[in-house]
């Protein structure tokens, strides 16, 4: 790994840490959300510098979408909805400090103690293809199962969260047309 890559890696790592600390020290929900996003974007950059450009760029893509949607919910469920008022992200300080200290120590010990394998063979030119084969080749069944579990979870959560069912929309005999919806959609179901 060249000097440029090492410098980038160090810079992105420090930025990620600083934004991570800011998540717990800033006092506006919007700022907290976007400093968490900054930390995750730095992690995407680290992944790309480590030679996995596809995963790195996808992390940035997904985290931006996810954190922006998350901002909506974090602000909606926060005790002060405006989010511009002072607030604290710290709760149960002693317990949290103990848990996070132990986890950090365990992770660092893992990094230092694990017997990392040496590289065998040459580095592949296009790692995107290798990632695709690793996920969709031998692990195809796992990925398909995961996909269905995720989809079922999303549909189930939406059904549980929705007060109205099809009988509310279409009447007792399911024959009311057009459906009685609080917000009319664009297709006219």
């Amino acid at each position: 790994m060249g000097t440029t890559a090492m410098t980038l890696l160090a810079g992105l790592g420090v930025l990620a840490l600083v934004s991570g600390v800011l998540v717990f020290t800033l006092n506006s929900m919007a700022r907290v959300t976007f400093s968490l996003l900054a930390a995750l974007v730095c992690v995407g950059g680290v992944t790309a510098v480590l030679g996995l450009p596809y995963l790195g760029v996808v992390i940035v893509l997904m985290m931006v979408m996810e954190m922006v949607i998350m901002a909506v919910f974090m602000i909606a469920y926060m005790m002060n909805p405006a989010g511009l008022m002072p607030m604290s992200m710290l709760h149960n300080k002693r317990g949290a400090l103990a848990v996070s200290g132990v986890v950090f120590a365990a992770l660092v010990a893992g990094i230092l103690l694990a017997p990392w394998p040496d590289r065998t063979g040459a580095r592949p030119k296009d790692t995107t293809f290798q990632v695709g084969m690793a996920l969709m080749g031998e692990q195809m069944l796992t990925m398909v199962t995961l996909g269905f579990v995720l989809l079922a979870t999303m549909v189930g959560a939406t059904v549980l969260a929705t007060r109205r069912g099809r009988y509310d929309r279409l009447g007792d005999d399911l024959d009311r047309r057009p459906a009685d919806d609080p917000v009319r959609g664009g297709v006219g179901r």
Binding site: A30, V57, V58, V64, M65, V68, T128, G185, G186, V187
Partner: protein
């Protein structure tokens, strides 16, 4: 063939993008004048450009409790992401940075607009701006997935995420011809991430300008410029993805790229003026019930063609 960019291409790409964006705004102003029955002169064409010094010289609007940091960050993100997205767009076969994951890079930069517009809506601490920011997210949840499937269709057809490979893989039969659904959905997506025309909902007139309601000075200029830069960038990306890139008889590749980009840009400006604004609650249902199944079926077509090859 993919060729590495010269040293000056990273500088040329933003310049070219700016020229295209200016052409689109002046063209729009000319069409405005024509439909209003005013005489079309050079003055009508440069009229939107006079807005630049005017907005810079205007006294900035002061608000009681803005979150200036986030507001600025949002206003800067939109045009900067548009410029960064052009790094992977080849003119002829020269791209500033011919990344092996170019399509994903373009998509990631486009998604940065979500963050930018939400922040631009949140920053001023004003109701109309905030609703504008939330409107863009609602629109984003509608247009993003069909747009992703449209991009995936082209990458599947070429079996590569490199934009130059996708342009080269078309061999005279453009993807726009045999993936028409993906092409149309992509063009709709371009209008959506530049929040213009039918997708001007986040900056709607019914909302006193939405995300633009409180923006003044450089912030306003950046957001407005971001819209047209994104329109130009989306038009330029349509050429390698769907229209065979720089391929064409006689002329050199970069000329063909520019000609096709201008045609797509003209088409987008024309459509943008013809179609009324779509409300997000209507477009979301249309996107999820009609467009997503259609684009998934569209992605299946190149997948089957590649398998049978």
């Amino acid at each position: 063939m993919s060729e590495a960019g010269e040293w000056w291409t990273p500088l040329a790409a933003p310049g070219l993008l700016l020229v295209l964006a200016v052409l689109a705004t002046t063209g729009n102003a000319v069409l405005d004048a024509r439909s209003a029955g005013r005489p079309v002169t050079l003055a009508t064409a440069v009229r939107p450009l006079l807005g630049v010094p005017r907005v810079l010289a205007a006294q900035p609007r002061r608000l009681p409790t803005p979150d200036v940091l986030l507001w600025r960050a949002g206003a800067v993100t939109v045009p900067v992401a548009a410029v960064l997205s052009t790094l992977v767009i080849p003119v002829g076969s020269h791209a500033a940075a011919d990344l092996s994951v170019g399509v994903v890079w373009f998509n990631a930069m486009e998604v940065l607009t979500w963050a930018g517009l939400w922040l631009a809506g949140w920053g001023p601490d004003s109701v109309f701006s905030l609703i504008g920011g939330y409107r863009f997210l609602a629109l984003g949840l509608a247009y993003e997935l069909p747009l992703m499937f449209a991009l995936i269709s082209t990458a599947t057809g070429a079996q590569s995420l490199r934009v130059n490979d996708i342009a080269d893989a078309q061999h005279g039969l453009w993807y726009a011809v045999w993936m028409p659904v993906a092409f149309v959905v992509y063009l709709a997506g371009v209008l959506a991430f530049s929040f213009l025309g039918p997708f001007a909902y986040p900056a709607g007139r019914d909302l006193a300008g939405g995300v633009l309601a409180e923006a003044s000075g450089v912030d306003r200029l950046l957001l407005q410029a971001g819209r047209w830069l994104w329109l130009a960038s989306g038009a330029a990306m349509a050429v390698p993805l769907f229209l065979g890139g720089g391929a064409g008889p006689g002329l050199p590749g970069w000329v063909w790229s520019l000609v096709k980009t201008l045609l797509v840009l003209g088409l987008l400006v024309w459509v943008m003026r013809r179609v009324p604004v779509a409300r997000a609650d209507r477009y979301v249902e249309f996107a999820w019930v009609v467009l997503i199944p259609l684009t998934i079926a569209q992605t299946l077509v190149p997948a089957l063609v590649v398998l049978a090859r």
